[in-house]
């Protein structure tokens, strides 16, 4: 099925998380946002103009939930440029290779450069990896671009792809994107606690966390509220929010209600009034539910 939407409603981070968790293969294409005359209504009943796709701005390819290649619409993703940007070729070398190597595929060109001792295989892999990640970090700061994820569309076989684990990309990209995004909306209640998901060892394997992130991780326990962890780590609300948000987005932790805490009262965007906790329903007997099931089955 199609995955279409707009980053205003479903952020790049959420898309990457979805692709990572569902181990998807395909290409995410993002487009220049063009405001149309068509009016749409969001889930809260607010009306706004539909944003339709313009020119393609970026495409990001994935295989089995891993990032493998990215291209920015306004950048020349030629291998020579990528190696030049990474400092492996000087400008003149890059220019000559671009001109003379125009007819070769990336793979063939890389092989020639390696055989000619211009670069090593590791240089090529590292440069493409960095180029790909830089594009994704950039895309993660976009906020209103239309997107479509085309399942099973992958780069042509003559392109060099480097599998990159998305967890670290999500953490670092979120870290950067959050510098400009209000965290309170994403994590309104600091009285919630955190717990590790199933198989935490597996999820944390290969993860590069900062010292502050490790400090927070060391306090994670369903009995500790986020506020308590912040106090123990001597962090401000914003600092703890930033770290917890990144860990949540990467699927490394989950929010839970700490023991003794009543049902949380969320603060949905735009809702100024405070919901009242409604008393639970009167005791219903099991036989009543079974009769309802029978009735609906027969209907």
């Amino acid at each position: 099925m199609a995955l279409k939407g707009n980053l205003a409603d479903f952020s790049t981070t959420q898309i990457l998380n979805l692709i990572h968790l569902a181990r998807k293969t395909g290409t995410l294409r993002l487009f220049e946002p063009v405001v149309s005359d068509e009016i749409i209504t969001d889930g809260a009943g607010n009306k706004r103009r539909r944003i339709v796709p313009g020119e393609e701005r970026a495409s990001i390819a994935f295989r089995d939930g891993k990032l493998i290649l990215a291209a920015m619409g306004d950048q020349d993703g030629h291998l020579a440029n990528v190696l030049h940007k990474a400092g492996k070729l000087n400008a003149e070398q890059a220019r000559i290779i671009r001109e003379r190597g125009a007819k070769y595929s990336d793979k063939a060109l890389a092989l020639m450069l390696i055989n000619a001792n211009y670069v090593t295989q590791a240089d090529v892999v590292r440069s493409i990896k960095q180029h790909t990640i830089d594009i994704v970090y950039d895309v993660m700061t976009w906020e209103r671009e239309p997107f479509v994820f085309e399942e099973n569309l992958t780069p042509p076989p003559d392109r060099i792809t480097v599998p990159i684990d998305l967890k670290n990309v999500i953490i670092e990209g979120t870290r950067r994107a959050q510098e400009i995004k209000p965290l309170e909306e994403e994590l309104p209640n600091l009285d919630m606690a955190l717990k590790f998901p199933e198989s935490p060892g597996e999820k944390f394997r290969g993860i590069h966390l900062s010292v502050d992130e490790w400090r927070v991780v060391s306090y994670i326990n369903p009995k500790n509220s986020i506020r308590q962890i912040a106090k123990a780590c001597n962090m401000t609300d914003t600092e703890i929010r930033r770290i917890v948000y990144a860990l949540l987005q990467a699927g490394l932790v989950q929010l839970v209600r700490p023991p003794g805490m009543q049902a949380p009262v969320p603060a949905p965007a735009g809702a100024a009034r405070r919901p009242v906790v409604v008393p639970p329903s009167q005791a219903i007997e099991r036989s009543v539910v079974e009769r309802l099931i029978q009735r609906i089955k027969e209907s």
Binding site: D9, D42, G45, A263
Partner: protein, 182 residues
């Protein structure tokens, strides 16, 4: 013998298909309290009416047991009705328009609000699965961050069998909760 009434709530964002859901299963014509949306909105193909206070449907089991289905208004400006409708509910269904990612955030917010009202079982109905641009239930689970033990069910609210399946799954969840509480 007094008639026992059981109440279930159908909630979700604006235009998620709540009214259609109740209409498909209710044995009475659904009592709606809709108001007409502005002509401008209707011109753009958005639905022409929206629920203001609630939708109301009924399924009679027998002489002494009746199930009432209440549909909440989707628009935020009518959310004062939500907690009133949530009172005493046996469980609730969160409807999501699978083809409208612009409503996912609101769906998640509504889900959390109703969870806060009462700790009753609930299921999520991934509605409009017959739409060509519908997100799959598996993708929706990740997008909405629905925990694995919560049922997320494919749904087409205009199809009676599909609605029956969602309601039955909610009732099974209620039974499971009862068993777990014993």
């Amino acid at each position: 013998m007094p008639i026992q009434t059981v109440k279930m709530v159908v909630t979700g964002p604006f235009s998620a298909g709540k009214t259609e859901f109740i209409r498909s299963i209710s044995e009475i014509d659904v009592v709606t309290t809709d108001e007409t949306i502005s002509p401008e909105a209707a011109e753009y193909g958005v639905k022409e009416q929206t629920t203001v206070a609630m939708d109301f449907g009924r399924i009679t089991v027998d002489d002494d047991l009746v199930l009432y289905l209440f549909g909440t208004p989707g628009q935020r400006r009518f959310d004062f009705m939500w907690e009133i409708l949530a009172e005493g509910m046996l469980g609730f269904v969160v409807m999501v328009d699978s083809a409208k990612p612009e409503t996912f955030r609101e769906a998640k917010s509504i889900l959390e609000t109703f969870r806060a009202y009462a700790p009753t079982p609930y299921v999520v109905a991934a509605n409009k699965q017959d739409h060509p641009e519908a997100w799959s239930p598996e993708d929706l689970r990740i997008a909405l961050r629905i925990e694995d033990h919560i049922k997320l069910l494919p749904c087409v609210a205009t199809e009676r069998e599909s609605v029956k399946n969602v309601l039955l799954e909610l009732l099974y969840s209620i039974l499971d909760e009862m068993d777990a509480g014993q």
